[in-house]
Amino acid sequence: MLKVALRRFLLFVLTLWLLSIIVFLASHVLPGNVGRAMLGPFADPRAVDQLNHELGTDRPLLAQYADWLGGFVQGDMGDSFAMRQPVAPFVWNALGNSLRLALLALVLVVPLGILGGVLAALFVGRPLDRVITVGGLSAAVVPEFISGIVLILIFGVWLKWLPLSAAAPADAGLLVQIKYLLLPSIPLVLVLFGYIARMTRAGMIEALDSDYMRTAMLKGLKRSTAIRRHALRNALLPTISVVATQTVYLLGGLVAIEVLFHYRGIGSLIYTAAQKKDFPMLQAAVLVVGAVFILASLAADLIYAWLNPRIRLGGGE
């Protein structure tokens, strides 16, 4: 188990390193004029050159990468082109905000999704199952900004129940914050519900049809007991990884929602950095998103392994 964890951790570092290369290369494929992009078309060429030199964008690529990575390893994510100050506080702040939104969405959707999936599996082929699967699928694939707009229209503009923006006042308490985050989290709930319900349903159907479930039933156990004790546990194992892999979407994939709701999550940070070609900011934010994802899947793997005796205890005697 410890060895597994160590192996996974080394893999994590390797993947992260590869990611850093991808991210760095992606932001340097075309030799754009950073200073010009920063200062705009009407700025004087002398000012542009001056800025390029200050930023060090006129140095060789490898040197820039080495510098950047070296800084990163020491916890220095570099300075934003646009802000001319360290990007780290921006990234951590945005990540914190994203985590808050993600947490709320997960808290809402995980129980709902599991419940939906279990119900669908129990009534497989029946109308309830069709409603949950087709409805879940449809909700999952509609872009979240579409559902976001509709929700804004209904709850924000017409009914005026919920604030239109996700950013709560700085001194807001927990409940107020939740109130502000509710509207943006619903599109995420809609998107994730389908995934989680689907995985749970598949796992549950498999578990319900399994031989060990049959064994349990033939022992004379009540169906509900057998489901609770035998089916559910095995059925929910795969759901763990779904939840983990969806964190990447929740942390970083929400560009549209964060833009729509004017929320300062990591998605909108990436978006603004992209708009402004603020590469240090973009690189740092993207890398952090990647790291969080890899960490989450690492955690999911370990939890999975821990809950699954076949992996936890290794092979036979």
Binding site: R36, P41, D44, R46, D49, M83, S165
Partner: protein, 492 residues
């Protein structure tokens, strides 16, 4: 809207404003975008202030005057002006500020405005309250270069000015309280202000990535005003009973350039024909919802005092346009690509031009680029902006037409996308710029206007207003088309 005096202003309270996130740092020397200018205008002041009606009001200078030929200008400074750190403003501060801006080593954003006008070291202290500027060339409109029009020219203390961003020391009615990049800025009343003290206790600016969330925030009551509401994006506000719209004239406009050195625009008749296709009143009233003024294919907007209003307005005339085309041997029309940036109403404007030109057989293919791509490296050969056969470029407000006349149209102009090269024109512009009195300016303007109508290298079909929006009942807001906003006398 309510007359200003209808209610006595109650001191106190907080004014909350929405603004687009400043694109870069808030170093006055470097700022170049609305978010930065607005934020800065809460604490910073200029020697003179370009009022909404394009006349200069004294601010930190009390008066100014040129020498005979307009090559040396002398400014008398206001006395008793205190910086936020308590120091008194003197000529030393002004000289230091302006010289810093004009020095190429600092990479200041004002370089392009000062180039050919004012060099480093050309600013001199006469006495504690008198400053003298020796120009590179005669310039009748020089005070505008030191006014809020040149938004970088905020007067800063000589010593602390170089590190403004530490504590934002300037002379304005509000002083710095806090600034969180990307989030917002807060200001409190400066009790040592030289003029009437500010009414509201505090100003809070919240930054938004986009105009849409600003509109939502205004309608949702989270902010009290939006400084800049581009008309196409803020239609939702126009008929909202809880919102009042402040409209100010501006000389901001969209230039449609046609490269005079490339087919199909080598023949001026073709360029004129295209100009004749546009229904300018419809553009202004339809697309711009009435928040614009008709243009007459020259930078001389009607609001410029120097504009010759008697030059006949070009109107839509398809028959004449067709004749011109036939005369130019292009009866069967032409094909061309219209390149523009995805900014404000430019894509829509491009569509309208595309539709309009169809009437004379013109087939326009549209290419809408993101802003960065459109401007490219901003040098010929590396910039669709300067290289495209036909393009539309947004130009912000200028208090005087000098830049509009020179950079995009003069043969040496660095932004000459039309590649317009006309010695007569160049001469006329030089004499316009050198003219010191309005009469002389107007005379040159008239000739320029007529020449441009004939040549039409660039279409100026409208000048769009500067539109701000506030909650109903908020009075005393003074926005400028340049992006500054004075809130010290504003209140509910």
């Amino acid at each position: 809207t309510m007359p200003r005096a209808a209610r006595a202003a109650v001191p106190g309270g907080v004014l909350r404003m929405a603004q687009t996130v400043p694109a870069a740092t808030l170093d006055p020397m470097k700022i170049a975008d609305g978010g930065g200018i607005t934020t800065l205008s809460q604490v910073g002041e200029y020697l003179c202030f370009d009022m909404p009606n394009l006349t200069l009001a004294p601010q930190l200078a009390e008066s100014w005057s040129p020498n005979k030929d307009g090559t040396v200008w002398t400014f008398k400074l206001r006395q008793g002006v205190k910086f936020h750190n308590g120091a008194t403003m003197t000529a030393d501060d002004v000289v230091a500020t302006i010289n810093r801006l004009a020095d190429p080593a600092n990479g200041s954003n004002a370089l392009s405005a000062f180039s050919g006008v004012l060099s480093a070291g050309a600013t001199r202290k006469i006495d504690d309250y008198t400053v003298e500027f020796t120009l590179d060339a005669p310039n009748g409109n020089f005070p505008y270069y030191l006014s809020s029009d040149n938004y970088n020219a905020v007067i800063l203390p000589a010593k602390e000015g170089a590190e403004f961003e530490k504590n934002w020391i300037a002379t304005g009615p509000y002083k710095y309280e806090s600034y969180t990049p990307q989030v917002g800025a807060k200001f409190t009343r400066f009790d040592g202000y030289w003029g009437p003290k500010a009414i509201a206790d505090r100003i809070e600016i919240s930054y938004y990535n986009d105009i849409q969330p600003q509109i939502l925030a205004l309608q949702g009551g989270e902010v009290d005003l939006i400084l800049q509401a581009p008309v196409l994006q803020s239609v939702a506000l126009l008929n909202d009973p809880n919102i009042q719209i402040l409209t100010g004239p501006s000389t901001a406009h969209e230039q449609v350039h046609m490269r005079v050195d490339m087919d199909p625009f080598k023949d001026a008749r073709v360029r004129r024909a295209i100009a004749l296709c546009l229904d300018r009143p419809a553009l202004v009233n339809g697309m711009m919802k009435g928040k614009a003024a008709i243009g007459n294919d020259s930078p001389f907007a009607a609001v410029y005092p120097s504009t010759d209003q008697s030059v006949p307005q070009r109107e839509k005339n398809i028959a004449e346009a067709k004749q011109l085309m036939e005369a130019a041997g292009m009866k069967d029309g032409f094909e061309v690509t219209l390149t523009t940036e995805d900014y404000l109403e430019l894509p829509e404007y491009a569509v309208l031009i595309q539709n309009a030109v169809k009437q004379i057989g013109g087939k326009i293919t549209l290419q809408v680029l993101d802003q960065g791509t459109y401007y490219g490296d901003a040098v010929p050969g590396k910039s669709p902006w300067l290289d495209s056969t036909m393009g539309i470029t947004d130009y912000g407000h200028r208090g005087v037409p000098n830049v509009f006349l020179a950079a995009p149209l003069a043969s040496t102009g660095t932004w000459n996308s039309a590649h317009f090269n006309n010695p007569t024109y160049d001469g006329l512009v030089a004499s316009y710029i050198a003219a010191l009195d309005l009469e002389a300016q107007r005379a040159s303007a008239s000739q320029i206007q007529k020449l441009l109508l004939e040549e039409t290298p660039v279409l100026f079909s409208y000048f769009y207003d500067f539109v701000s929006a506030t909650k109903v009942g908020l009075n005393g807001v003074i926005p400028t088309a340049m992006g500054q906003i004075r809130l010290d006398q504003a209140s509910f």
